[in-house]
Each structure stands twice: as structure tokens, then as C-alpha cells.
């Protein structure tokens, strides 16, 4: 108590000050700090929720990006496969067309060869026929000139011997 007196502190005033302070503290807590803290808490929750949402969105974005990358890779693989298949199909088509063309050319050549052979044979036969006719006519004329009556009788005699 002496100490209070030495420093000029009046206990009653101090007690009143303390009571005032406590009442003020209570009032402040009740009327000001609590709503403020509530608002701050709500704000904090909102921020946390926003952060959480942002994280979710980021995560989702990453997933989407990852999915997109996967899809792009898959599409690239499929595109390569399609191109490969298309190339193979094109090669097959070209090969088939070539084979068909070769077969047609061979058939055409064969037909032409056969037609040429037939034509050659026909011409040969025609030449032979012409030649035979010429030989027959020539021999008939020559024989008619060179065979005398005497020869004819000799021939007949020979024929009769052959009977």
C-alpha cells in the first residue's frame, strides 16, 4: 500500500479504473470483437474455401491438361496408325492395280500372239494353196505338152500291169 502511496496511486481510483477497463473489455468483446472476429472468421473461411476452390480448379486444370495431352498423344498414335494403314492400303491398291494391269497386258499380248499365229497360219495355208494351184496348173500344162500318144499308151500298159 505504501508503494501505491509513494507512486501516487489511489487504490479506489485504480479499482475503478480496473472495473472500467473490465466493463470496457466486456463491452468491446461483446459488441465489437465478437462480430469482428466472426467476420474475420467468415472471411478466413471464404479465403480458405477460395484457396481450396483454386486448388481444385488448378488440379482440375492439370487433370484436363493431362487428359488433353493423353488424348493428343492417343490421337497422334491413331493418326500415325491411320497414316500407316492408309499407306499400306495405298500400297496394296497400287500393287493390285499393277497386278491387274500386268495380267491384262499378258492376256492382251497372248490374244495378240494367238491372233498373229492364226493370221500367220492362214497366210501360210493361203500361200500353200496358191502354190499348189500354180504347181498343179503348171504340171498339167507341161505334162500335156511333153506326154506323147506313145507315152500315154505306155502309161496305160503300166497301169494295166498294176491291176
Amino acid at each position: 500500500m505504501e508503494v501505491f502511496k509513494q507512486f501516487g496511486v489511489q487504490p479506489i481510483l485504480l479499482a475503478a479504473q480496473i472495473v472500467n477497463f473490465i466493463v470496457l473489455l466486456y463491452l468491446l468483446k461483446k459488441l465489437f470483437y465478437k462480430p469482428l472476429l466472426k467476420v474475420l472468421e467468415e472471411r478466413k473461411e471464404k479465403i480458405a474455401q477460395s484457396l481450396k476452390n483454386a486448388q481444385e480448379i488448378e488440379k482440375r486444370l492439370l487433370e484436363i491438361e493431362d487428359e488433353r495431352d493423353k488424348k493428343l498423344k492417343k490421337a497422334a498414335v491413331e493418326a500415325r496408325e491411320i497414316l500407316k494403314d492408309a499407306g499400306k492400303q495405298a500400297a496394296d491398291l497400287i500393287e493390285e492395280a499393277q497386278s491387274r494391269a500386268e495380267a491384262q497386258i499378258k492376256l492382251s499380248l497372248k490374244k495378240n500372239q494367238e491372233a498373229m499365229d492364226r493370221e500367220r497360219d492362214r497366210l501360210h495355208q493361203e500361200i500353200r494353196n496358191e502354190l499348189a494351184q500354180m504347181v498343179v496348173i503348171g504340171l498339167e500344162k507341161v505334162a500335156a505338152k511333153i506326154i506323147t500318144k506313145e507315152d500315154q499308151h505306155k502309161i496305160i500298159e503300166q497301169n494295166l500291169k498294176q491291176l
Binding site: 500353200r128 502309161i155 496305160i156 494295166l160 498294176q162 491291176l163
Partner: protein, 131 residues
């Protein structure tokens, strides 16, 4: 409907009956024609046509045709006739001369042809060239 085998047999008998002693017997022919005339019209025509053909064929089978480029003497004709009469009955000999044969002799009796003419030899050469 006339059966072919029956027709053939009847005509063969009729043709044989129509010739007697190497000659065509007119009485037999008339008798057969009368007989055929008794048949129905359709059959009658067929029988008469076949009978006519049979007679011609019968005579042709017994006709010897000799073709040469120059005329043959009697002995040559006789020799040919004697040779062919060994195989076939010969009733008639027809000798013809044709310069187109060039030389040699061709004898025909029925469906048998003995061709030794120069013309046929030349034609054989032509056939050989033709292949």
C-alpha cells in the same frame, strides 16, 4: 409310219426280183409298180421313190466305167473287165476318153475307184503341197 428296216428289206427284194439273167425284166417291174400302187398314197410315193433309186443303184453297182486320155483297144478293155469281174458282177462297160486326164487310166465300179491317171498324180502333188 414306214419303218426304215422294213422299207429297206422290201426294196432290196423288189430290186433283186426286177432283174433276171443280167437284164431288167419289164414284166417284173410293172408287177411291182402295180403292187406299190395299192399302198396308201404317202407310202406309195415313198416306196416308188426308193424302188426307183434301188434300180438305179443296182445298175450303177454293176456298171464299169473306164476313163482314159487316149482310146483303148478291145483287149485292154477286156483285161480291165476281167480283172474287176473277179470282185463284182459287171453288166455294163462304159468307156470314155478325155484329154483332161493327160494320161493313164481311171476305172470306177460302184463306190470303188482305181485312179492311175496323170491328172490324179498331179492333184496328189498339189494336195501334198497344201498339207
Amino acid at each position: 409310219m414306214i419303218k426304215k428296216n422294213q422299207l429297206k428289206k422290201v426294196i432290196e427284194k423288189a430290186v433283186n426280183y426286177s432283174f433276171k439273167e443280167g437284164k431288167l425284166d419289164e414284166k417284173s417291174v410293172l408287177k411291182l409298180v402295180k403292187l406299190f400302187n395299192k399302198l396308201p398314197l404317202a407310202d406309195r410315193l415313198v416306196y416308188l421313190k426308193e424302188y426307183h433309186r434301188g434300180l438305179i443303184r443296182f445298175l450303177a453297182d454293176r456298171a464299169l466305167m473306164i476313163e482314159t486320155a487316149v482310146a483303148l483297144d478291145q483287149s485292154q478293155v477286156q483285161k480291165i473287165r476281167d480283172h474287176f469281174s473277179q470282185e463284182k458282177e459287171i453288166w455294163q462297160v462304159d468307156v470314155r476318153s478325155s484329154t483332161s486326164l493327160i494320161g493313164g487310166v481311171r476305172v470306177t465300179i460302184a463306190d470303188v475307184v482305181f485312179d492311175q491317171t496323170v491328172k490324179s498324180k498331179i492333184l496328189q502333188v498339189g494336195q501334198a503341197i497344201k498339207g
